[in-house]
Symmetry: none
Amino acid sequence: MFVQERLGAIETLLQQKHRLTVGELARHFDASEITIRRDLRLLEEAGKIVRAHGGALRINYQRPEPGFEHKAVDAVEAKAAIARTAIEELPVRGHIFVDSGTTCLEIGRRLIERNELTIVTNSIPLLALAGEAKARIVGIGGEVRPVSLALVGGVALDWLKAFHFDAAVVGASGLDGADGAFTTELSEASVKQMACAHAKLRILAAHASKWNQPASVLIAPWGRFDRFVTDVRPAKADGARLRREGVAIRVAGLR
Amino acid sequence: MFVQERLGAIETLLQQKHRLTVGELARHFDASEITIRRDLRLLEEAGKIVRAHGGALRINYQRPEPGFEHKAVDAVEAKAAIARTAIEELPVRGHIFVDSGTTCLEIGRRLIERNELTIVTNSIPLLALAGEAKARIVGIGGEVRPVSLALVGGVALDWLKAFHFDAAVVGASGLDGADGAFTTELSEASVKQMACAHAKLRILAAHASKWNQPASVLIAPWGRFDRFVTDVRPAKADGARLRREGVAIRVAGLR
DNA sequence: GATCAATTGATCATATTTGTTCGATAGTGA
DNA sequence: TCACTATCGAACAAATATGATCAATTGATC
């Protein structure tokens, strides 16, 4: 086996495994460990991999789950812009459901200024803002999901059934041009679905970074939403698809 | 496991949990504590986390209860003492209702460490602590009362009807030797009553300053409570009355 | 077949990583 | 305030991984 072949093979293996030990590779190629180390050094010098003591890691090795707050901080500006645009779409009186998540929290933060409004939410951070609110704020009950500080679960759903909203604003963890909006957890998806099912106006608010992010549970296909508020004009194909499905796109800062 | 992997994993965990102790991490990775500390130091030097004595915090973690803390500064010491005493009266597993209010919040703050417990509460500040909780936390639904950040109202009551608690801890705004415990709002009183009605063990926790404070709505006469936890031994007459009604008195710091 | 360059493997001194011990320090409750 | 406990980090020790060096092997070329 030629060196180049081995180098290429190691790269390929790393695509599949994200981490490889020197021992594994030595066995795999039936070569000595020192040979593997030499290969790894070459690959590292070429910037193809990251070496670790005992093996190697994929270069863009990213941690298991992207995480919640991490993204939240660097997109504050964008999310504020989305929020400013989103509230223009929302009624000044009546009942509005506001979802959990950082984008929706920004929207909620602005909506609580409207004194004729009743805001129903599953977001604990939003409930915590009630002290400064002019609007009436109602929390749906349920079990707390610690990662997102959202109220979820069966009882929350039962309770939402009894409600009728003038509008529902929901967020998403992933967007897919072909399918629709996704989230990572079934229990959260159910709450979002139920809220939308009982709302006259359904608004999806999501930061552009959510496009093509993998998230396992479908909240709803595009057609179920009336408006999609985001911060960057979607790719041509995605935009066309949305319009075909009857979703009005609002791009923050541009209208 | 490579160092880089552990560092990445710690970052990911921190995004989900806000805070991690060295011990937790050591167990999680099956590594020694000193190894974890070394990792934490690396992450701190890289500006990825904030270290604390005993563990680490997420870099931009902000306290989730804004606008409420200022109230809580009154009698912190005494309330902490009451809380320490109260939790000794409470089971380590099962379902416990924890009321809104600063005293009960102190109790809840300690109870969330018990990992076999389900805590049901109408206190939004307590719900906001779920991110750091070992216990399962359930919020009852309802309208938010901004002054107290408590969930109240008809829906809250309906929720409570569905529950059965091993214990209920409630607070009060006023205490009267002759009558019992009072609060300022009918809606809050109803929640407290309903919680007690569905609990095996009923604990009233209140700071001594609440004696003879005027508060309009009777929560319940003394006889409805099993224990009264406070920070100062009650006046002779009051103490006698309580005992006659079958309420066990626990004075914080003295037992 | 002899020679050379390239690659690989073996050996061993050195690096790195991890865990243990123990004195120092910070937090906690009285 | 003090004493008590938990946590911390320095220093050492053990285990493991690493790379420099040198020898062996292979294949190409003369």
